[in-house]
Symmetry: C2
Subunit: 369 residues, 2 copies
C-alpha cells in the first residue's frame, strides 16, 4: 500500500473512519480534531507525514495528544491549541526544539491531535503510534512498555494552566498524576510526553499506522461507493475475523474513576442466530465471550460496527437494540511480547484468570493447515 | 518582646505549642516537623531567623510547606526532604538560588517545614508568615490576597515525583491542581511557591509570627511551671478573650473533598454553666455560636484548648466528653481588609449570611469606653 506523505483535506475523512475502527470503541471521537485539522489546512498550513525509516536517529520526537474522558470531549470542545501549548512548554523545559510529533494512540481522537499540532508548529508527524489501537492509560504505550521514561512531560488546558511533570517515580505515577490534574481541569487537556530519539521510535513505534488508518478508511468508502460489503472490506484490509452479527439486548455502562466501564449483551442473527455474546468494556472493548466462553481479549482488537454502514460505534454511543457486527483484528507483534502483556494483557485489566491467545493472521492460519 | 534570631533545640517545644495554638484546630500537628528540625540541629546545621526589616528588598523568598490532609500526616510520616526537593526543583525552574524561606501558615505543622528546609539548604527562615494562623487553602495567604501570582511553583513527594505548576490561570487554579496532585500522591507532599521579593514580603507578610509562636509557647510553659493558669497566660499574650469553658457533648466530623468538616456542640461549665456553644469546622475552627447566635468567625482565631493544661486540641483529635476552653484571638489587620475578607471572610467559607465583626483588641476596647 502507498504511504501517506502529506495529509490533504480529502484524506481527513478516511483517517477519521480508519482511526475510529482502530479505536476499538474508545479513544474518543476524532470528529472535532478532524475539523481543527481541516481549518489549519485551509489557513495554508501543511500536515507532512514522515515515515519511520526517514527519521534521523537523533531526531527528538514527542508523543502527544488529548487526555481526558471521551464522553466529556463530546460536549466540552477543545480550544484547539492545548497540545501546541503543551509542546511549547516541553520545549521550554528542555531548552530544545522538537523535530516531529507522533500519536500515542492511533485509535480515536488522538489520531488527529499530533497532525493538528504538527501543522501548527510547522513540523512533520511520524507515520506510526504507540498502541496501534486505543488503550485507556498512558503507560500502555509501546514506549513506556519498552523502557522509555516519560519525564519531563507537559500538560496544558484551555484556561491557561500549564503543569510540568518533571520527574515521576514510574510511568504509572505519571498516568496517575496527569489523570488527577486532567480531572480537575475539567476532563480535557493536551499532554506532550518526554521526547524520544528517532532511533528508539524506529524500534518501538507501531509502524505506518497513520497510513493504515487512512487506507482502512478509504477501503470502507470504496466498498460503500461500489455497493460492496464494507465489513468484508475491513476484514480483508486488517486480516481480521468476523465474530458475530448481533443485536444489543442489554447494556450496562457507568463512569468509574473517570473511565466508562460496563458490558454489552448480544444476541446473534444471520449466520450467528442462536448464539449469545458478551463484551466487557473499559473505555475500549476488552473481552469478547461467545455463549459464555472467552474467545478474544486484549491486546487484540475487538471492534463494534454498525452492521449496515460498517462505521465504528464507540462505547459512549452504544445503545439498546443496535444491530452490530463484532470483528476481531490481530494486534501488532510489539503488543504480544511477554513484557507487553504484563501491561496490556487481560490480567492488567483485572482478569487474572484469562489467558491471552493471539488471534492468528491469515499467513499463520495457512501455515498451520 | 525579644526577637528570635536563631532557633535552638530548646526553642522548638515552645514553637510547637505556640504554633499549635495559632493553628485554630488545623494546620496539622507540628510534632513530626519538630523532631526533623531537632535532627538537623543535632547534625550541626543551623536555623537562622531573619526579621522582615533585615531582608534585602531584592531577596528571593519562597513560601513553602507541607500540603495534604492533616489527619493523614499523623500516620504517613514525611520522609523529611519533600520541601527541600520542591525548593531545588523551583530553583532549577527559575535558574536562580533562593535566599530565604518563609512559612505560608504559622499555625500548625507548617511552622516547622520552612525552618527544616532552611536548615537543610543553609539559608535563613523569615520571621513572619502568610496567615498568622492556619487556613485550609493556599490562595488564603496574604501574598495571594495582595496580588502575588504563585507560578511557577514546585511540588515533590517522598516517592520521587516532582510536579511544576508552570502557569496557573489563578491562585485558586493552583490550589485546585496542587490539591488533586497531592491527593494522588497519598495526601502528603511538599510545595514551594513562586518566589517573592523582599520588598513585597516586608509589606504583605504577617510580621514576627515565628517569634510570636515561640514566645506564646514559652508563656504557656512558664505558667505551667509556676502553677499559674496557662489559659490566662495565652489570653494575655495574644490579647484574646475567653469565650467559654465547656464539655463537648456532640461531635460530627467527616472528610469531604480532602477536608475535615463538621461541628462541635458544647455545654458550658463554671462561669458558663447553662450556656450552649456550637463550633463549625473545616480543617480549622470557622464559626463560634453562643446559644445559637454567631459571636466569632473567620478570620479571627477560634482556639480550643484542654481546659486543664492549656494545650491546643486539633480538629482531628476532638472527642466526645472532652473538657475544653474556647478562646477568641484577634487576627492581624492584613486579614481584615475588604480585599482579604473576600478570600477568608465567612462568605468565602460558605456563610454568605454571616457578617464578620472584628474582635476588638484591648486598646480598641479601652478607646471605646
Amino acid at each position: 500500500m502507498a504511504s501517506l506523505t502529506q495529509v490533504l483535506d480529502a484524506d481527513l475523512d478516511a483517517i477519521e473512519v480508519g482511526s475510529g475502527i482502530l479505536g476499538t470503541g474508545g479513544g474518543g471521537n476524532p470528529y472535532i480534531g478532524k475539523l481543527r485539522c481541516r481549518e489549519e489546512l485551509r489557513k495554508g498550513r501543511r500536515i507532512d507525514v514522515i515515515p519511520l525509516a526517514e527519521l534521523d536517529d537523533d531526531a527528538l520526537v514527542v508523543s502527544l495528544g488529548g487526555i481526558g474522558a471521551p464522553v466529556v470531549g463530546v460536549e466540552k470542545i477543545e480550544q484547539g491549541e492545548e497540545c501546541l501549548r503543551a509542546l511549547r512548554a516541553l520545549e521550554q523545559e528542555l531548552g530544545h526544539k522538537i523535530d516531529a510529533t507522533i500519536s500515542s494512540e492511533i485509535g480515536g481522537a488522538n489520531s488527529m491531535e499530533p497532525m493538528l499540532t504538527a501543522a501548527q508548529a510547522g513540523i512533520p508527524v511520524v507515520d506510526g503510534d504507540g498502541m496501534g489501537r486505543a488503550f485507556p492509560e498512558m503507560q500502555m504505550c509501546t514506549w513506556s512498555i519498552y523502557g522509555h521514561q516519560s519525564f519531563p512531560s507537559a500538560m496544558a488546558d484551555e484556561k491557561g494552566n500549564i503543569v510540568i511533570f518533571r520527574q515521576t517515580a514510574s510511568e504509572v505515577w505519571l498516568e496517575r498524576l496527569a489523570r488527577s490534574c486532567v480531572v480537575t481541569m475539567g476532563a480535557a487537556a493536551g499532554i506532550a510526553l518526554a521526547p524520544m530519539r528517532g532511533s528508539f521510535i524506529k524500534q518501538f513505534a507501531i509502524p505506518d499506522t497513520l497510513t493504515q488508518a487512512w487506507s482502512l478508511g478509504k477501503a470502507v468508502f470504496e466498498a460503500q461507493a461500489e455497493n460492496r460489503d464494507p465489513i468484508a472490506a475491513i476484514l480483508e484490509h486488517e486480516d481480521g475475523r468476523l465474530l458475530m452479527t448481533a443485536k444489543i439486548v442489554d447494556l450496562k455502562r457507568h463512569l468509574k474513576g473517570g473511565f466508562a466501564v460496563g458490558e454489552v449483551k448480544l444476541e446473534g442473527f444471520g449466520n450467528f442466530a442462536g448464539e449469545t455474546g458478551l463484551i466487557d468494556l473499559q473505555n475500549e472493548f476488552l473481552v469478547f465471550r461467545r455463549n459464555g466462553e472467552m474467545e478474544i481479549c486484549v491486546p487484540d482488537l475487538i471492534v463494534v460496527l454498525d452492521s449496515d454502514t460498517g462505521l465504528p460505534i464507540t462505547t459512549e454511543v452504544l445503545r439498546y437494540g443496535q444491530r452490530v457486527a463484532i470483528l476481531a483484528l490481530p494486534c501488532h507483534d510489539l503488543l504480544r511480547s511477554e513484557q507487553a502483556l504484563e501491561v496490556i494483557g487481560p490480567a492488567a485489566f483485572g482478569y487474572p484468570d484469562l489467558t491471552y491467545s493471539p488471534l492468528p493472521r491469515t499467513s499463520e492460519r495457512e501455515a498451520a493447515q
